[in-house]
Symmetry: C2
Subunit: 208 residues, 2 copies
Amino acid sequence: MPEKIPRTVSKRLVSYYMCLEKLLDEGVEVISSEELARRLDLKASQIRKDLSYFGEFGRRGVGYKVEFLYNRIGEIIGVQKEWKIVLVGAGNIGRAIANYAAMRERGFKILAAFDNDPQKLGTEIAPGILVRDVRELEDFVRENNVEIGIVAVPAEAAQEVAERLEKGGIVGILNFAPVKLKTTVPVENVDITASLRVLTFEIVRRRG
Amino acid sequence: MPEKIPRTVSKRLVSYYMCLEKLLDEGVEVISSEELARRLDLKASQIRKDLSYFGEFGRRGVGYKVEFLYNRIGEIIGVQKEWKIVLVGAGNIGRAIANYAAMRERGFKILAAFDNDPQKLGTEIAPGILVRDVRELEDFVRENNVEIGIVAVPAEAAQEVAERLEKGGIVGILNFAPVKLKTTVPVENVDITASLRVLTFEIVRRRG
């Protein structure tokens, strides 16, 4: 794999992968960079350039073989395995995540949830996902070789949770708390308010 | 306002705004582009360039006045008003969104939720937010001048909901369904699986 793929390319590769997944479902076998570009709201030249990082996938005038490209990008972005996950925070957001079936179908397996609310301990936040005491977090992560931690706790508790996840040996964090985490492992943020701000800014811009 | 601000700049402006909000809370009055860059994991030159789209904010060697910059960016991105919102889909994700207090505090007001499950109609999905029949969606949007629709329904229902929102007169959509919506209004997507894919790709890259 090339050493330095820009972060923006990573995000687009993921979007290519998800679009190809849908094309496979639709039974499409071959697709041109132009058609792919149309579906993704990108320039065809952009797609050809991104894919050229990883060698030659398509031939001019013929297009890309959907299944081949799908499998190859899948290998590159690391989908060919099951990822072990713990969820920290058993509130509304935690519950929504734990019950999100599409995650499991796509290889993201939540092994357990953690909270500090005594009333929630021992209950199931989703079928098969038990709520454990957050004090067991580090040990559980270590003993089960958990790779990813999902942080769905209030902002003021998020940094401490992130540090405990790291101590346990986590290699990546998906963060729903509206706060910037300081970690050595990669963090991906999901911030609903930020998304709303980007949207409303776009609305304001269009109004001119 | 400048005509064409690149989308990537929009997203960064929002992150500047949210960082400045935190600085204000911390009582910081002046900040250099270098310090802002450190906090946001960006280059100082990038920040200076982005802000130059909107005129001169800071002075070399003095730094930016936090409150002034915060208010000015707020005007630019359209935060100085309350946005009226409807939520479509009263499942787990809908419930998490409806109960997310930070949204209301930041000027995003959910007027009502909509669903097609008879058992949910008339109940409160969050304090003060009633679940209504999705058949009333267009009329409600029109009568209440709702500006934003949040789509939290299953993928197969999302496009139809988006079309009904547009017919009612919505000007922007925040979409949680894992599907690309075809609309004339701007759409911002929140896709948890996509965020996980970006994260795991980053993990794979770092492992080399």
